[in-house]
Structures are given as C-alpha cells and as structure tokens.
Amino acid sequence: MSTAAETTTTDAERAAGTAEAADGFEPDRATLAAVLAPAERPPRPSPLTASTVFGWRAMLKIKHVPEQLFDVTVFPVMMTLMFTYLFGGALAGSTSEYLQFLLPGIMVMSVVMTTMYTGVAVNTDIAKGVFDRFRTLPVWRPSAMVGYLLGDMLRYALASVVILTLGLVLGYRPDGGPVGVTLAILLLVGFSFAFSWIWTMFGLLLRSEKSVMGISMMVIFPATFLSNIMVSPDTMPGWLQGFVDVNPVARLVAAVRGLMNGNVEAGQLLWVFVAAGVLIAVFGTLTMRLYNRK
C-alpha cells in the first residue's frame, strides 16, 4: 500500500502548477465495460458536416489561443496606416485622395498576406499525432483541409472588416455603397479560400514551419507588391506590366476596387472566378495527393 501512496504524491507533485489536482483514477471494470459495450455505429457524416466540424475545431483553437488573431487585426491596421501616410502625399497629392485609391488594394494585400498562416498551421499540425488520428477517420478525405480553410475564412472576413472600419474612420467613402462593399468582401474571402490551397500544399510538402514561412514570403511579396495595389501600373516598364496583367492578385484588386467603387465590369469578376477555380483544381488536387500519401 505504501508504494501506491508514494506514486499518488508523485502524480500530485507532477501536476502541481498544472490543471490537475490529484489523479485518483481507479479504472472500474463495470463502468469501463458499460462504455465499451459495442453499440450501433452512426452513419458516417456528410462531407459538409465533416468539414464544418473541422471548421469548428479551428474556431475552438481561436477561442483558446486568441493571440492568433493579431495578424488579422493589428497587422492590417498597421499596413493601412503605414502605406496611406507613407505614399499618400507623394503619389496622390494628399493622403485622403490616396486612401480612396489604396483602401480596396490594401484590404486585398492584408488578407492575401494572412493566408500564408494556413500553411504554417497545417505544418505544425502534421508534426503532431492528432493529424494521424484525423487521417485514420472514415470521413470525406478533404474535410480536414477544408476545415482549416473555413476557420481561416472567418479570419479573412475579420481582417477585411477591420480595414474597412479604419478606412471609413480615416475618410474613405465607397461609391459602391453597402452592397458593393459586402460583395467585395465576399469576393475577397472566397478568392482567399482558393488561394490558400497553395499553402496547404506547402504545409504538407515542406519539413518545417520556417521553410513554409520562407516559401510563402517568396510567393506573397511579388504577388502583392508587383501589382496595382500601391500604384497604377501605367508607369511600370512593359515586362512588369505584363506580369501585373496576369497576376491573379492584381486581377482580384481590380475586381474588388470595381465593386467598392460601384463600377465593376463582368470581365473582371469572371477572371477572378476562373483564377479561383484553377487554384482549387490544381493546388487542391496536389494537397490531397500529399495528404493521402504523407
């Protein structure tokens, strides 16, 4: 009996400072048998249910680690203020003029930049055993990945709203009205969902969080800066205009700007939809190949 008492103290000592008070668990045969009795298994969940449950997991993680919302709250505010006051006077004569031009673009830039955290989240998860459990579940295979992205879409929406609010405070006035602005945010969040599949792929492909970050930067910086976000491409050299012209982020900016200014063209929207479809088809497929073979 004395040994049992000793181990109890060790347990308690070990738990001191953690949530556990004392772990006096004695497995009870009858209780265990009762919970283990084979019961009828429920039918497997639909792809939608499985994906939303994984999305719920992302929400729970935000609840437990709210600091991770910094990148969609503080960061966008910084970006907006920085670029408005840095370039405003030089590029448009005044900061308020420039804000009219910049705001839709900086919104796209901030959100597209935060998409890369998806890859980091996927990568940190694989290193943990929980990923193995998800992969042995009899559910629709892409649901775990879709779940991450559903959680992230909330983050993207939050970032968009933060920037819009700040813009309105600083004097930005969208000619597209509430409808145009809402549609613009929906388009941005939807496109970011598609764009994020690039990161789920890298998250599964690369070995460490750092390499995921490194690659993400290498893709994101040219994709956002070499665009129509800060300046109109008119003064750029021809080859660069060529790049901006096919850069999906630039196309997205044009469509978002169009919606918020109330002068969107159908062609602009179509381009974004096609680009999003291609991104999902290519990177979604690659992601799932890696996921199944990991």
């Binding site: 181990t7 668990f25 497995p27 048998a33 055993g129 992969r135 042995t136």
Partner: protein, 351 residues
C-alpha cells in the same frame, strides 16, 4: 462481432517499407487472431511504428500485402478506416483543446449528432476518471491523463481493431497499470488490440501472442511463455549485509549457478544471469544458490529474481544488444523515429 471469431484481424505477408536507403520494415509476416491482444515487441527503430502506420492506412507499403479483417489496406483503405482506431505513440489528440472538446469533435466526425456526441464524450470522460479535467486543455494534463483521453478518443465508437503504439512509454508505474486495466477491458468487449511495446513485461502482462521485431523483421513469434523459455534465463541480484563477504559470495554463486557473477557498483551487491538447463529453471537454481550462501554463513539482506529483460531476449535471439548497435552503425535508421522521439522526450520533461 461474433461472426468474426476465427477470422484473422490482421494478416500481412512480406510487408516492406523503405525510407531512402533504409528498409524500415523488411518483409514482415503477421497473423493476428481476432479478439486477442497481440504484442509487437522491439527496440526503437525496429520498425514497429512503421508497421502500425501501414496497417492503419497512414503509410503506403512499398511491398507485400496487408489485410485488416480481410480488407486490403491499400485498395480498401476507407473500409479499413471504419474498423480501426489508432492511439499513436505521441498524443493523438489536439493539445490546444480541452479533453471534452477533443472527444466531442471526434464523436461528431464519427457521425454522432451534437447531443449524442456530448453524451458519449461525457460517459467516456467519466469512465476514464477525467470528468474533473474535462474542461481543461489537454496540454495541461499529466502523462497518464493524456494517455487516457487519447485511448478514450480511440473507442468513441468501439473499434473492431485498436492500435496502441507504445501506450505506456514514459508513464509512471501507476499510470501504466491504469492503461493496462483499460486495455484488458477493451479486449474483454471483443476488440482486437495490436500493442507495440519495448517492454517484455508489458507484452507478457497483456498479450496472448508476441512478435519480436528487429531491423524490420520478425525474429521470433509465439506466446509469452514460449518466448521466455526460448531465452531461458532470468537474472538474480543479491544484496549482502557485509561488503567483506562479497568475494566469497561471488565464488559460491559462480560455482552453484555455473555462470559469471558481476560485482555491482553498490559494494554489497552482486548480480548474475541464471540460465535454465539440466539443473532446473532459473528460479529453482537461484533458490538453491541462496541456500548455499546461508550455509556458508553469508547474510543476505535482499534478493530479487527478474524475468529476462528485453535486452536479454534480444541478446538471445540476435546475439547482439538492442539499442546502441542500431543507432551507431545506422544513423539514418534512427532518424525515422528519433525526431519525434526527441520531441516526446521534451514533452515528458515539461510534464
């Protein structure tokens, strides 16, 4: 589940997995009968985890065949997934979430509706002594609690086959016993359990049959009794009252046991391996030797007779010691598990 009696839960033939140059699993044949605990025993890097991961559809075999209840792990992976559960070597639950959230999440993914999922989670937390910790994040759990919530997550739907990959590595003796009790309860309900372990006594306690794996191959298979008798030795350790008697005691033991006797670091103790031979089993021979010590006027304060250790099983089966040889001449082999192992070790120290 009863119609499954007699059928094999797991059947593999010539299973191979290579990582670059290393053949981590090199032609493993297993036949695991339904409704039993089957132990896979071996040192780190032997290929235990890799084998389990292939059987659980997490890794694609590079050669050979593996069937779970007759379903091919490659071509019928989805069917296999609906029959098995895996509790990995490192917490297969989300440490950022609470115990209850983890179980509800997984119950939902297994198809339970929200109220049923909550109910099921609560019942399991209760049965596993985790009700008080239900709303705490798993990262704050002790090692034993973490293991329990992990196993609970594996039996949300009572699986036909449960993989437990080193379920007690790093646990204190009490938590280890709790896990053993749970494993016994699980198998009593008809679930087949495949358990990997580094400890012979664990396999001995739980498993009906054991396969010993080394460098990716099964080097012995049988019941725990068969395995131990194939090793045929135990170890005896004797502590004397007086250090002065040690040399004399060594001579007596060496003569009586017919084996080499080692002098331990402790100046009053000695130890020896006791082989079984014509003179009887290890216990019998050790008892006789102790009698002779008493007759020679040497006072023995304490003695213990141990089972053959995994090291001894290995030595007997392979003619080489377990750990150092493997990691020294095959550093690539160590990396397969060592990265994760290191992180697990780190966790242990934190906990």
């Amino acid at each position: 589940m009863s119609e499954r009696r007699g059928e094999l839960a797991i059947e593999t033939s010539g299973l191979v997995k290579t990582f670059g140059e290393l053949r981590a699993v090199d032609g493993v044949d297993l036949a695991v009968p339904t409704g039993t605990v089957y132990g896979v025993l071996g040192p780190n890097g032997a290929g235990k985890t890799t084998t389990v991961r292939m059987l659980a559809t997490l890794l694609r075999p590079d050669g050979g065949e593996a069937r779970v209840f007759g379903h091919d792990v490659l071509t019928e992976a989805d069917r296999v997934r609906s029959l098995v559960s895996l509790t990995g070597q490192y917490a297969s639950v989300d440490e950022d979430l609470t115990g209850a959230e983890n179980l509800i999440l997984l119950a939902r993914l297994l198809g339970h509706r929200k109220p049923a999922a909550r109910e099921r989670a609560a019942a399991l937390l209760e049965a596993f002594g985790l009700t008080a910790a239900a709303d705490k994040q798993v990262k704050n759990y002790s090692g034993g609690m973490r293991r329990r919530v992990d196993i609970a997550a594996s039996i949300l739907n009572t699986p036909d086959l449960l993989f437990l990959d080193e379920p007690t590595t790093g646990l204190d003796p009490r938590s280890r016993n709790q896990v053993w009790d749970i494993v016994r309860a699980v198998v009593a309900q008809g679930t087949t359990v495949l358990l990997t372990t580094q400890y012979l006594d664990e396999a001995d306690q739980l498993a009906g049959r054991i396969a010993v794996i080394d460098t990716g191959r099964v080097i012995a298979e049988g019941t725990p009794g068969q395995l131990k008798s194939s090793v045929g030795s135990g170890s005896v350790r004797v502590r004397l009252r007086e250090a002065d008697h040690r040399e004399k005691a060594r001579q007596v033991l060496a003569t009586r046991l017919g084996t080499e006797v080692a002098l331990d670091a402790d100046p009053v103790s000695l130890s020896a391996r006791v082989p079984a031979d014509a003179g009887g089993g290890p216990a019998e021979r050790a008892a006789a030797a102790l009698g002779e010590l008493a007759a020679a006027g040497i006072v023995v304060d304490d003695f213990s007779l141990g089972q053959p250790s995994l090291d001894e099983v290995f030595l007997a089966l392979t003619g080489k010691p377990t750990q150092p040889a493997r990691s020294a001449d095959d550093p690539a082999g160590a990396t397969e598990t060592s990265d994760r192992e290191r992180s697990a070790d780190r966790k242990e120290t934190v906990a």
